[in-house]
């Protein structure tokens, strides 16, 4: 992103648009609408803002795995790059519907049934559906307010055994408490490769947690973890249970390691930045100038404090 010297010429529209896009894309989880408001004010150019928003919002929504309600309370749809059919159409395989969304307003405007060619073949759908049910159960237990979906990323038209296919499991949980100055989100993306020749499933997960607390300050957590596992290629229901167990296990382990990182903070990691107290375990003796000269002499002799 361009570093601008402010001189006599104003920024070009293109430059303003790029800056606007940058702010929108880098909004913390759950805060893009607030950023948008402030940005409009600063930009003072609605035309540029709207152009930037049209480009930035879809990218933000997909990267944050935003979840929108489907009309007629028929369910929810996640916005991801895996179920995107075209710019603003997203597939929800669970209800076999396609949702049309307005990215900037972050709402679902219309919904229609999915066409056959948009869905997976019956063979693949068996596996997908069983997995979806297990994941739904897991997410319901583990996340107070989580959303999930299973998409077929490769090989959706495979007719029967002897072929490979790949699923992507997306789990997205967000908690927005702007009144408490705190927002956060948990995103899991699990890739499952069904390898027919070796009769194995390779599972790869990417977990991302972010949190933002901004009451009289601005503190953000950014944590990320990748993991791998494998299991046997079995019947759809058995695969589903195995995969869900793998996910449950790794995610619980990750949460525990996050908690450990936090409990290490006060006495170990933070200490590398600044101790709570000097080694003497007393406050610094500001009034004692004699001690200073002594300390200085000692430091000079020992060659420290340089």
């Amino acid at each position: 992103m361009a570093e601008e010297e402010c001189n006599d010429t104003d920024l070009s529209e293109k430059q303003k648009k790029e800056i606007a896009k940058w702010f929108l894309l880098n909004s913390p989880a759950g805060e893009i609408q607030y950023v948008a408001q402030d940005l409009r004010s600063v930009l003072n150019d609605d035309k540029v803002y709207e152009e930037a928003a049209l480009e930035a919002f879809p990218l933000y929504n997909k990267s944050h795995l935003i979840c929108l309600e489907l009309p007629y309370r028929s369910g929810d749809v996640l916005l991801t790059s895996y179920n995107e059919l075209n710019g603003n159409e997203f597939l929800d395989p669970r209800t076999a519907q396609v949702a049309m969304v307005d990215h900037v307003k972050q709402v679902c405007t219309e919904v229609r049934p999915a066409a056959d060619e948009e869905l997976a073949s019956p063979y693949v759908e068996d596996f997908r559906c069983a997995l979806d049910a297990e994941i739904l159960k897991y997410v319901g237990e583990a996340y107070p307010k989580g959303f999930c979906s299973v998409y077929c990323d490769k090989g959706k038209d495979m007719e029967g055994p002897g072929s490979d296919f790949e699923f992507v499991i997306v789990i997205s949980a967000a908690k927005n408490s702007p009144q408490n100055f705190c927002n956060g989100s948990w995103r899991s993306i699990w890739n499952v490769e069904f390898k027919d020749d070796v009769q194995m499933l390779e599972v790869k997960g990417k977990l991302q947690v972010v949190a933002h607390y901004f009451e009289e300050g601005n503190v953000q957590l950014d944590a990320e973890h990748e993991c791998k596992d494998a299991t046997m290629f079995q019947a759809p229901d058995d695969c589903a249970v195995s995969i869900a167990n793998i996910i449950r296990h790794h995610e619980a382990e990750y949460l525990a390691s996050l908690e450990a990182s936090y409990s290490n903070l006060p006495d170990t990691t933070f200490k590398d930045l600044r101790r709570k107290l000097p080694v003497t375990r007393t406050l610094f003796p500001w009034h004692n100038t004699l001690q200073f000269s002594l300390t200085k002499d000692i430091q000079n002799e020992l060659g420290i404090g340089k």
Binding site: M1, E4, C6, L11, I19, W22, F23, N26, P28, E31, Y34, D38, S41, V42, E141, A142, Y143, P144, A173, K175, C182, W186, L207, A211, Y213, F214, E216, G217, N218, V219, Q220, L221, D222, A223, H225, E226, E251, A252, L255, S257, L258, E259, S261, Y262, P266, T269, F270, D272, L273, R274, R275, K276, P278, L283, F284, W286, H287, F292, K296, I304
Partner: protein, 255 residues
């Protein structure tokens, strides 16, 4: 301007430099406000005369040169530049020596600088700065941090002495970031910035340095604890709200 500050509060602390330069280009008329209200990680120069590093800030800058607190010279050299009075410079030099020891005791490394200058009210202003790189490639003693930075800026306005006491107004900003990275738990990164103020009326019997030093020490302690318990604690709470640990799941009501 309020909207600009709102944006700065939301953008990730690690991206504040990019955000500030973007805002400066969008709002050139507000540049002095923006520069004075937004804190960025501190930069450092080496004083070639004595081989020591010093911290750069608005308070030791004139045009594009910066005054070293060790040699009192501008780098690069500058004609007609402002200097503190010789009395104040004595205090400033002593402050630098003592603050360096304080810094070493708490930070086990790092760089510090103190700058003083007279203000219009017969008092003076002092700026104490600390920069610490706590990463294992920097000066992190225990090697926990992949990346770690602590930048502290303390600006104290000291009022004129009246009947043996003086008024001190301290505004402190701490910016920090730390990242741990290992095989089993991936990357864990916390960054933040907070600013607080403290006002005190103190007897000058022990001297200005002592008073200012104590205030800074108290403030830094409070900020460190606040960051650790409140700020980091809140983000931890958020994580546990998103996905509670297993033991808690059993007890959660359906929501």
């Amino acid at each position: 301007m309020e909207a600009a500050m709102g944006l700065m509060r939301r953008i990730h602390p690690k991206q504040s430099e990019t955000a500030l330069s973007a805002l400066l280009s969008l709002l050139p008329r507000h540049s002095s406000d923006l520069l004075s209200q937004v804190d960025l990680p501190l930069q450092v120069l080496c004083d070639v005369d004595c081989g020591k590093e010093f911290i750069l800030c608005e308070y030791n800058r004139d045009a594009d040169s910066y005054r070293s607190p060790w040699s009192n010279k501008y780098h690069p050299a500058l004609e007609d530049a402002p200097y503190p009075s010789s009395e104040l410079r004595k205090l400033e030099a002593e402050a630098n020596e003592i603050f360096a020891i304080y810094r070493d005791q708490y930070y086990e490394g790092g760089i510090s600088s103190v700058y003083m200058w007279e203000d219009d009210n017969e008092g003076f202003v002092a700026c104490f700065l600390i920069k610490k790189d706590g990463s294992k490639t920097g000066q992190g003693r225990r090697g926990y941090l992949q990346e770690g930075a602590w930048d502290a800026i303390h600006v104290i306005e000291v009022g004129p002495e009246e009947e043996g006491t003086a008024h001190y107004c301290l505004t402190s900003t701490v910016m920090l970031s730390l990242t741990t990275n290992n095989q089993s738990s991936g990357t864990f990164s916390l960054s933040g910035s907070i600013r607080r103020q403290m006002n005190m009326d103190l007897s000058v019997a022990d001297g200005h340095l002592c008073n200012m030093g104590r205030m800074i020490e108290e403030m830094e302690g409070k900020l460190r604890n606040s960051l650790d318990q409140v700020y980091f604690g809140k983000t931890k709470e958020m994580v546990c709200t998103l996905r509670p640990p297993a033991e808690i799941i059993m007890r959660l009501p359906d929501c």
